[in-house]
């Protein structure tokens, strides 16, 4: 009795172990059978097809065990390939059919949207990105000036891959938009999407490298490209970000006398006021800055001078924000999320009268910007070192 039950258990275990071995390693993929996609670009062809380009590292040229450091000199350490299809998946399948390794999406860091694609709408391509689990919602999205393909082909000097360069660049500028952010911006009424615009430019003095440059931002209305915001006009955009990244700005302190300050801390409060069906935004900005370069030779130990600087800085910041907001209003693209602020303050009113056609209402919006800037840090010296000391 006991013996037979033991025999049964033993045979069950043996069968289980054998079935485990029979399964093989069905999902197993070695690292060297993967083609890691670092970035991919989506362009719209003239015939309406999507052209998907992928940037793949050539792992063997990255410096294996006996190679002794690869570096960027000589051969490129990556290559770019592209294919067209009615859907991105179809393009992917075409690409895969000429790859000896499995295209692996889990490591892409940047999704480049070509200009044409941005104009025709983001919803279609966001679907496959969100639906396919290998894709990451934390990947950054950028818009390319011209073809996205060209951005992937650029060969910046600092990084081995332009994907890495793009990622680091937009992280440094501080205006990062991930797939998740875009999805949220698109599905939240009262906010419109925006994406950084990158271009590949020749380095100067002209070298062999193509560098990546941030040239501005694209404003979206719904999921379509609405307007290109130049950097000049986009100065205010960083103030609407959830976290403030410090930045440097310069302006005339006196006639033709420039001063550069680093804005280290910033905070913005937006208060919507609705009066007679008209929406007015009261925007209060607080900034703290430090002087980093001064061509005017002013004595910053003097509090009168300092106050003058603070006022000029405040005006400068206000001006930046105003320009951005004006562009926004003009192009009916609410990238600052003013609608959302309004909806939070007046939820009922928002639902009944603004939600449906916020684009239209945006045109009639007025705002007032009050900036208070302080400059507690004037640097290591009060005046230019070379100036003669006062006796």
């Amino acid at each position: 009795m006991k013996r037979s039950s033991r025999f049964k258990i033993a045979s069950i275990i043996v069968i289980l172990i054998h079935s485990l071995l029979l399964t093989g390693c069905w999902d197993r993929v070695e690292v060297n059978d993967l083609a890691l996609i670092l970035a991919f670009a989506v362009d719209k062809e003239e015939d309406g097809l999507y052209r998907m380009s992928v940037q793949l590292p050539l792992v063997s040229s990255l410096g294996g065990p006996s190679g002794g450091g690869g570096g960027t000199s000589g051969d490129k350490s990556y290559y770019v390939d592209s294919a067209t299809g009615k859907t991105l998946r179809e393009a992917n399948n075409v690409l895969q059919s000429r790859m000896s390794r499995k295209l692996f999406y889990a490591h892409h860091r940047v999704i480049v949207i070509g200009e044409e694609t941005a104009k025709s709408g983001l919803r279609e391509i966001l679907d496959v990105i969100a639906r396919f689990p290998e894709n990451r919602l934390t990947a950054y999205m950028v818009v390319a000036k011209g073809k996205g393909f060209d951005l992937l082909k650029a060969q910046p000097q600092f990084e081995r891959f332009s994907a890495e360069a793009m990622r680091e660049l937009i992280k440094m500028v501080g205006v990062t938009v991930t797939v998740k952010d875009i999805a949220q911006m698109l599905n939240t009424p009262g906010v419109d999407a925006y994406l950084p615009v990158l271009a590949s430019v020749d380095s100067r003095p002209k070298g062999k490298s193509k560098e990546i440059e941030l040239i501005g931002f694209s404003m979206f209305r719904d999921d379509r490209f609405a307007h290109f915001l130049t950097l000049e006009h986009a100065k205010g955009i960083r103030w609407f970000q959830p976290t403030f990244y410090s930045y440097a700005t310069d302006f005339d302190i006196r006639k033709n006398r420039e001063i550069s300050v680093q804005v280290n801390q910033g905070r913005m409060e937006i208060t919507p006021i609705v009066r007679n069906g008209k929406v007015h935004f009261q925007i209060n900005v607080h900034a703290r800055a430090a002087i980093i370069e001064d061509h005017s030779g002013t004595d910053w130990g003097n509090s009168k001078n300092l106050r003058m600087l603070e006022n000029k800085l405040a005006a400068n910041i206000s001006e930046g924000i105003r320009t951005t907001l004006q562009e926004m209003v003009k192009n009916q693209s609410d990238i600052a999320g003013l609608g959302l602020v309004l909806a939070r303050k007046y939820p009922q009113l928002w639902k009944t009268s603004f939600r449906e056609n916020w684009d239209k209402h945006l045109k009639a919006v007025t705002f007032e910007i009050r900036t208070r800037a302080t400059v507690p840090n004037i640097g290591q010296t009060t005046e230019n070192l070379t100036k003669e000391e006062m006796r």
Binding site: V29, L36, V59, S60, P65, S66
Partner: protein
């Protein structure tokens, strides 16, 4: 009539050699010296180390001394014999020899051949006097033994440097020096039909759980084996689960470790002929503790303990984790790391699991070779290991550099477990985990770990759950598992060993004296 008796006796004697020592229990010491000598000479035929010295007491009473050459202290035996040879007295005088003549402190009377022979073979000197069916054994031992050295297997920075040796008497004396109390009991048991090895079961009466003590003694008494050459024999025969890879008996060659164990209500088993003293019951967490934890400052000890727990996990999981992540879950690695792993693996001909097996097995082989080889050759092994397996294999593109790193970390991690037998268990379990990882990925590792944990939770060492005090949970005992609490907080002995006398120290009085001295 006389003839038949004679032949029967001869038959008896002839059979003696086939019997083991314990079977001579009912074979009494004869009163005729002649007969005794005949028996002894028959028993010790062809034993060149056996010495039988016949002599006359002063009034021509025949007597003889028997001993094994090399086990006795010759000078003391000479002295004893000199005392005997000037003896005055009658034939029935063995008592008076014992009480009046022999200047020997350890002396006992025996009546059976079993006791007589076991004493003589143990190194005592036996005295037989004609006309007495009582023999005397003199405890004048002088066998060669190693001096008390620092134990090589359990080195410490801070703590006593003495370790046990192969002589059981020396070992018990080392323990007695730590615990000078009559509550320290040393119960002697002889195991092994041929080896007649002396075992001493040691415990602190009043602290140890009597049921546990009886269980240990009964398990040892039920052992029937021809010889016990090392405490490992005993360990395997008294442990609860013979098939488990986890050691359920701790061993130590340090008197301080053994004394500390006894103070926790545990039981030590000394085995003659080995410096390794067994300690039962044992839990998994005790395997993660070193004696130095209690001598160093408690913050350091706590940190070191957590370091061990961390590296325990590393030694178990790292190779399996590497295999799983690099073949199933590539998305889990940071991109740059994955790229460098991919670059390193680009020219490797084997799949990750094969690579891992090659490296892990050759590491185990290196380790084994390093232990087993003569010390003079040991250096050659380490050079070969470092150069051939490490560098050359990577340069030749047979294994990848990350794999070498994984194996090295695993190797170092497995050496952080203070008890060698516990680290062996973990090293073995690494391999099934690697297999599971190779076809089920991280899911496989988790299944494997769950199985291991289930097994550990099921395991008991002399009735004490192997994972206690964590499972079953006893929060009061965490103070010596998750942390090493300062001594003043560890007021009570651990409860899971079933101790009788719980209180260990009086914190109130310590604190009071510290305050008044301010």
């Amino acid at each position: 009539m006389k003839h038949t008796r004679q032949s029967k006796k001869e038959q008896n004697i002839a059979q003696l050699n086939e019997k083991s020592l314990s079977e001579l229990e009912s074979f009494p010491v004869r009163s005729s010296l002649e007969e005794n000598i005949e028996i002894l000479e028959h028993l010790f035929q062809d034993c060149s180390d056996f010495v039988l010295r016949e002599f006359q007491l002063k009034d021509s009473v025949q007597a003889c001394a028997v001993f094994v050459d090399g086990l006795i202290d010759t000078q003391s035996v000479n002295e004893a014999l000199r005392a005997l040879m000037i003896l005055k007295g009658g034939r029935e005088s063995i008592r008076s020899i014992e009480h009046e003549v022999l200047p020997v402190s350890q002396i006992s009377e025996v009546t059976s051949y079993k006791d007589f022979l076991s004493a003589v073979l143990g190194g005592d000197t036996g005295i037989l006097v004609d006309g007495n069916d009582i023999a005397l054994t003199l405890g004048i031992r002088g066998a060669e033994k190693r001096s008390v050295n620092e134990p090589e297997g359990e080195a410490v920075v801070r703590g006593p440097r003495e370790g046990f040796i192969e002589n059981i008497r020396t070992n018990t004396s080392l323990l007695r020096r730590k615990l000078k109390t009559p509550r320290l009991k040393m119960k002697s048991i002889v195991v092994g039909k041929e080896s007649n090895t002396n075992l001493v079961v040691s415990y602190l009466e009043g602290i140890v759980d009597p049921a546990l003590r009886d269980e240990v003694i009964s398990r040892i008494e039920h052992i029937e084996i021809d010889a016990v050459l090392e405490s490992g024999y005993i360990e395997e025969m008294i442990q609860d689960n013979a098939l488990s890879p986890f050691p359920q008996v701790q061993y130590s060659e340090r008197p301080d470790t053994v004394a500390a164990a006894l103070l926790e209500g545990r039981i030590a088993i000394f085995v003659d002929g080995t410096p390794m003293v067994l300690i039962v019951p044992t839990t998994f967490w005790m395997m993660m503790q070193a004696n130095e934890d209690y001598y160093e400052r408690f913050q350091m000890a706590t940190l070191v303990r957590w370091l061990r727990y961390l590296f325990l996990a590393i030694s178990l999981v790292t190779p399996a984790g590497y295999v799983a992540i690099s073949t199933f879950h590539q998305e889990m690695l940071p991109t740059t790391l994955l790229l460098s792993i991919a670059a390193a693996r680009e020219s490797i001909p084997f799949p990750a699991i094969v690579e891992a097996l090659i490296m892990e097995i050759s590491f185990e082989a290196l380790r084994e070779a390093g232990i087993r080889l003569p010390k003079t050759v040991g250096q050659a092994v380490s050079i070969l290991g470092a150069l051939v397996v490490g560098q050359a294999a990577v340069q030749a593109g047979i294994v990848s550099a990350p794999m070498v790193i994984v194996v090295s970390i695993t190797g170092i991690a497995s050496f952080t477990v203070p008890h060698y037998n516990a680290s062996i268990a973990l090293r073995m379990l690494r391999f099934p985990l690697m297999f599971a990882a190779s076809f089920l990925g991280i899911y496989g590792i988790l299944v494997g770990i769950l199985l291991i944990m289930g097994h550990m939770a099921n395991l008991r060492s002399f009735g004490v759950p192997y994972l206690s005090p964590l499972a079953p949970m006893s929060i009061g005992d965490f103070k010596d598992v998750l942390i090493r609490a300062p001594w003043t907080i560890m007021e009570k002995r651990p409860s899971f060993t079933g101790v009788e006398d719980e209180k260990r120290l009086n914190t109130a009085s310590i604190n009071k004296s510290r305050q008044t001295s301010d």
